[in-house]
Symmetry: C2
Subunit: 479 residues, 2 copies
Amino acid sequence: MNFGIVGRVLGYLVLFIGAFMALPALFAWHYGGDDLAAILISSALTAAAGGLLILVFRPKGELLVKDSFAVVAFGWLLASTFGALPFLLSGHIPSFGDAFFESMSGFTTTGASILQRVEDLPHGLLFWRSLTHWLGGMGIIVLSLAILPMIGAGGTQLYKVEIPGPAPDKITPRVRQTATALWGVYLVLTGLETLLLLVGGMNLHEALCQTFGTVATGGFSTRTASIGGFHSLFVEAVVIVFMLLAGTNFTLHFHSLRGRPSAYWKSEEFRFYLGVVGVFAVLLTIDNVLAGAQRAGEAVRHSVFQTVSITTTTGFSTADFGQWSPSAQFILLFLMFIGGCAGSTGGSIKILRVMILIKQGLAELKKLLHPRAVIPVRIDGRSVPPGVVVNILGFMFLYLGLLIVSTLAMSLMGLDLVSAFSSVTASLGNIGPGLGLVGPAANYQAVPPAGKWLLSFCMLAGRLEIYTVLVLFTRDFWK
Amino acid sequence: MNFGIVGRVLGYLVLFIGAFMALPALFAWHYGGDDLAAILISSALTAAAGGLLILVFRPKGELLVKDSFAVVAFGWLLASTFGALPFLLSGHIPSFGDAFFESMSGFTTTGASILQRVEDLPHGLLFWRSLTHWLGGMGIIVLSLAILPMIGAGGTQLYKVEIPGPAPDKITPRVRQTATALWGVYLVLTGLETLLLLVGGMNLHEALCQTFGTVATGGFSTRTASIGGFHSLFVEAVVIVFMLLAGTNFTLHFHSLRGRPSAYWKSEEFRFYLGVVGVFAVLLTIDNVLAGAQRAGEAVRHSVFQTVSITTTTGFSTADFGQWSPSAQFILLFLMFIGGCAGSTGGSIKILRVMILIKQGLAELKKLLHPRAVIPVRIDGRSVPPGVVVNILGFMFLYLGLLIVSTLAMSLMGLDLVSAFSSVTASLGNIGPGLGLVGPAANYQAVPPAGKWLLSFCMLAGRLEIYTVLVLFTRDFWK
């Protein structure tokens, strides 16, 4: 590993986080909260730490693939550590484990919270909490559309961004170019949703916070009752649309904004994504109508919202689905494994991988009847190389392996099977709420400290497509 | 499909089942139960149906791969249907759905039961119930070591039996030769365990029934409390050893009986299998000791028994593990997915597939750091062709797909998540008891009728490695 260059890049990152940390001070000052000093001190400390890193580390040579892993993994770790400072120093989240959990949950766009009552937090801290989502979302866009495709991790070579750029051997210029283009898209989405939510009656603080939670598929809200707390069909509709947009491959938005909206319909992944949302929204509605606890209109409204929220791994809620029927809960638990499109801010396994797995499974079945037939798996008309399929198998193995080991650990801490399994599922998939003890009407406060650390790790591993984190634990990496 | 030859082979199979069905009459007569007439009539009806099939169907040509699927799938269906007759005609299981469930559970060596009190069944029926296990085990040995490897289904080409035989294009002579050799092994195991259980104080009826349940990794017992009902450490030790032997690739036993016992230690799968059992037995013991509800000696005894019983997919129990800690329950639920060795009578995913998945996953991780490195996955020193890995991926996809869809269906019938998931897991993996509603101290009586049919289907699909059953639903198959 090239410590010099990695340290320097991390320094810039921490400095950048520190600068953004000053923004919430505006809201703290405006609303006269008790969090102003803590925010300013945290921001200064973070910026200073970043500056120190920049001074200490002297870059030599180029940033290589190996080094980019280190930047990504340590970058998220440092961001989450410094991001915990405002919660900690203000005294509003006095335990470091809890503050780190909340911050990691923010930067990984998970949205799992240890707060019993969200409204108890002053406006500055609430804004910072939502801003961590938005910054995390920026990071994910770079990671999933610029860094991972270049190294072909876990089948990501399939979703290379088709933006002309310099030769792929030098990592920096290409990353910069792709990031700039797609951050533009991200800003457009952010601006549009904020405007619409302002029109819907929110104040600027509320509109920005819910928007950050949406476009990053995060899920932190400024109300304990989440989006349901706004009691507005318009707000829910806006959030549904932007959750769907945030769960879409950003490359498609990029092409669309450049005047080629047909890109959406040409993408098989996008069609499949809408298909999944459509089918499960209908299933869930039928289930809720049959269960009889809600009127038909309500059932449609909550079912559609919840399907979109979970599939895109946002985790907002308008109803306590922990009270729905076992089958409705199972549908939502199942959706937690699908996730958004590749190249979106959504987490979990992702639509593209699920599609390839399904097509491969069907091809296998045909091959059994025609042993000599060659049945290629195709996406968008192009056949998927066998290496990609094997790659995805490797990813699934790691994902399920981590899920199983972590669920075992959570159950060893005394959580019942449903709570243990769903808390890990919701953390690995960067969703937020689970079922049982950690359901949408509850929070992660009751999880024992060791469990919070483990779930924080799961959020990070899930967010960084697991490979990027696990690679740090190999001997080869440190050579 | 060659209806002539398939019908003829099925005719012989039904005749064979009918003949074996007369055996329990001996016990019915000896113990003077009310089941004698029902058993004799069922046997006669079954044999007659078999004879009729033989008369009606005139074979033309050779048995091809396609046809062998039909023989296997319809064979198990017919066996289970006729196998339900004694339960039904005697009036002891008056519902056909229940009788079919019990019979399917027997022939698929699952061991899930709808009986509230096993002891209520007369001796003849109890013997028939256990005999269905033993006959099902015979079928599995042929299927997994003679039929499936020939067609390379789901990676089974790896465990081809190395018994010299005629060219593989003609299916019949090779199947006959392999079956004869391995049924010899099966008979030796059956004889030995029966003897040891007689020594352990059981009468002939009890010894044979528990033996059938063990060597077929079935799990039907003659007592409601299962093996725990015998209160004998010796009996438990014998059953543990024979469950382990039954979960081993029968080819290894074959080589060992031919004077090459080193075959065991040369097999990587066998070593891994013992490793899994060892590690999880220790984990479960620690868990049970920490939970504090059992004395240390008891904890070891029950933990080892339960680990072996679930890993081999037998499903016998000596304790109600439904009362154990959440983590202990999770360990057992996890073991339900591993299963016995390939080429054993054990079900579920199987050790060989799990090994290849793990090795592939680790290779993927290495490849990420060394993108140009070629890292072959090796089993017993030979590299696994990539096609096999892709095959296993296809199998896993179908297995998990069926698991998810069936769990959804079970939860729609009102079962809670743990009961729904574990009942499907235990049926697909041919284990028997699950958790919650269908735990080891309970039974499948409370499952709604539609659920029993679905679980019966899962048992069949799991037993026949899924491919063989699903292929029947494709249009190509019937052409």
